[in-house]
């Protein structure tokens, strides 16, 4: 990261992609969106040529999904299946594809198995919540936020030991602590253990911790592509999706290699949606906003959407909107 296309994001929208009333995703439309997006990003005419820029048949590829809002809001199995198909098409054996997340109890609520070849692995780091066995004891970030006894956050073991490339598939969501949760947070908090310790009471340390984790090797160099699933999203009380009132349907996917540039677009998307709903900005850091977040003008934490800009200072991508090239495609 930020890869070969810094400061670029491709946004592909299709009204047919999802039926907001039922949540049913149109698989073929999603395939077309993915195809149009990757070709627009790379300039290649053929999908295989575009994917071959990032992935070779020898790679062991991780697809980092996001299931924190599952079962309703998650990396869509239709999109994940389409990505897996493209990997197979460029020669990656299905047994070298790993769909992964941190928490097994969330992953099992989504029918990924129905959308990928049987040999594709679908795994979670924590089959039992809180277990450290799925993490690499040798790769960790150690810091003490609030006097917690366990000061380490360890990298998922398959990331350090098995995968050679990672495709990051986050959702389009507001986040109570970090303001938004997109590419950066999915690859940071989604790849390391013991990260909830960074929040206590209204204070959250996501401002610097997200970028710090995302910049850890080998994460940084193995994440080669981001495909943000914005078919459905969450505009308040994220990353969960317990209240249907806070779901929305952007009906788009966003593709790029620069996680900062993509998340910078996400900030605008969430802010625009919140404004249309009459909700306060995610940048409002006054203590008056603290309270029961069933009210969209209240929140449990002082949000830290500045984490995206902070990550740019670590060299993870381009934050300045004036320097970001956004390509828009309508299908």
């Amino acid at each position: 990261m930020p890869g070969p296309y810094p400061g670029q994001a491709v946004r592909v929208h299709s009204e047919k992609s999802i039926d907001a009333a039922s949540g049913k995703v149109d698989r073929e439309t999603v395939r077309q969106m993915l195809s149009a997006g990757i070709r627009a990003l790379t300039g290649d005419a053929r999908d295989d040529d575009a994917w071959a820029r990032f992935i070779s048949p020898k790679d062991v590829v991780g697809i980092k999904i996001n299931c924190s809002g599952a079962p309703r809001i998650r990396s869509s199995p239709e999109l994940v299946g389409a990505i897996a198909d493209r990997l197979v098409a460029v020669g990656v054996p299905p047994a070298q594809i790993w769909i992964y997340e941190r928490f097994q109890n969330q992953v099992v609520t989504v029918p990924y198995r129905d959308f990928v070849p049987q040999a594709v692995h679908i795994v979670a780091a924590e089959s039992d919540r809180g277990s450290i066995l799925g993490y690499d004891p040798k790769v960790y970030v150690e810091t003490n936020f609030f006097g917690e006894e366990d000061t380490r956050s360890n990298l998922i073991r398959i990331v350090s030991e098995t995968l050679t490339k990672i495709i990051n598939v986050p959702n389009m969501k507001e986040h109570q602590a970090s303001g938004v949760t997109g590419c950066l947070k999915n690859i940071a908090y989604g790849n390391f253990s013991n990260v909830a310790r960074s929040h206590r009471n209204e204070k959250t340390n996501t401002y610097s911790f997200i970028g710090t984790l995302a910049a850890v090797e080998p994460v940084r160099s193995r994440v080669v592509l981001g495909v943000m699933d914005g078919l459905a999203g969450v505009w308040h009380a994220g990353p969960f999706s317990n209240n249907p009132r806070f779901r929305f349907y952007p009906k788009e996917i966003m593709i790029g290699t620069d996680p900062v540039a993509i998340d910078r677009q996400l900030i605008d998307i969430i802010e625009a949606k919140r404004k249309s709903e009459g909700a306060i900005s995610i940048f409002n850091q006054s203590r008056e906003i603290l309270g029961d977040n069933r009210d969209p003008n209240k929140n449990a934490y002082i949000r830290e959407p500045g984490h995206v800009e902070y990550a740019s200072k670590l060299g993870l991508g381009v934050y300045d909107q004036a320097k970001i090239q956004v390509k828009r495609i309508e299908l």
Partner: protein
């Protein structure tokens, strides 16, 4: 002589049931009990059970060891409250203690007393008898060479409730100290409440005081660190060329699925004994510069890891 010494190190079982409960004791593998003085005579004629009179009033009653999650209370932390009796043992090492515990807390109490080398009796209920017997059998199999407790700092214990509660919080965080009367210059740090550095006013929040002490000691200088569990407490003992790590899971209802342990010192040969997990092996064992780390894949109640140079 050695056998006697081993037996003395084991916690005793206090049983106030009548002699007709002897079959339950035998089934649990318990052959030696302490009984109320009034019942001692009646137990004399029971085959296979050795009974000795004991007066609980002459012993200090301890809280049942436990992890309390307190889901019904708002808190600033998700870390559970642990009921750990280690500070009692450090304050009064020569004390005689007893526990009144039910079910799975009976073996936990026995493990706690054993780990701290305390003289204690465990009074189980019927449900706790079998697991207690299994734990005592496990403890009896652990060799008990002469070893010294490892302490990273001295805590000047003035015997007050305030000092006791700070000691309690230190033990819960596996911060290893020795209760001393006067500062010990051989230790990395000496803590005396009521001084400018450790004001009594701040000690009214014992958790915060424990953090101040931890910061002064620094995590790098701690002889043991436990990662991956908020319900496990560690204790160390040492002898030349040898370190013993005691690990106790205070959540008796649920095993811990993996924890990482770091100790100061380079030890190349580990030996693990884990109660209820006879085939368990350490994972990702690493001897680092000045430290040793390993992963214990599970911890039901209690494990002892001997590390040799």
């Amino acid at each position: 002589m050695i056998l006697l010494a081993l037996a003395a190190a084991l916690p005793g079982v206090f049983w106030d049931g009548a002699p007709d409960t002897a079959p339950a004791l035998r089934e649990a593998g318990i052959q030696r009990i302490f009984v109320p003085t009034a019942q001692a005579g009646a137990w004399k004629s029971v085959d296979g059970i050795s009974a000795e009179a004991a007066d609980l009033l002459k012993s200090i009653k301890l809280r049942p060891p436990a992890a309390n999650y307190r889901y019904d209370e708002a808190s600033a932390s998700r870390v559970p409250w642990l009921d750990v009796n280690g500070w009692h043992f450090l304050r009064q090492p020569q004390g005689r203690y007893w526990y009144d515990v039910a079910g799975a807390k009976a073996p936990l109490a026995a493990a706690e007393a054993f780990a701290w080398g305390a003289s204690a009796m465990v009074k189980p209920n019927a449900a706790g008898l079998k697991p207690l017997g299994e734990m005592l059998s496990f403890l009896a199999g652990i060799e008990t060479p002469t070893m010294q407790p490892v302490a990273d700092f001295g805590f000047i214990d003035d015997g007050t409730a305030t000092a006791g509660e700070v000691m309690n919080l230190l033990v819960r965080h596996s911060l290893l100290f020795r209760a001393v009367r006067v500062p010990d210059p051989k230790l990395k740090l000496n803590v005396q409440l009521g001084t400018k550095k450790y004001p009594l006013e701040q000690a009214k929040n014992p958790g915060a005081m424990a953090q101040i002490i931890r910061a002064d000691l620094t995590d790098d200088n701690r002889s043991v660190r436990i990662y991956g569990s908020a319900v496990v407490v560690g204790r160390l003992e040492s002898a030349p060329g040898r370190l013993r790590v005691h690990l106790i899971n205070y959540d008796a209802s649920r095993k811990v699925n993996g924890m990482r342990v770091r100790v100061l010192g380079e030890y190349s040969k580990p030996r693990l004994a884990a109660a209820g997990s006879p085939d368990l092996a350490l994972q990702d064992y690493a001897v680092l510069s000045g430290a040793t780390e390993f992963t214990l894949p599970e911890l039901k109640t209690y494990a002892v890891i001997d590390l040799l140079k």
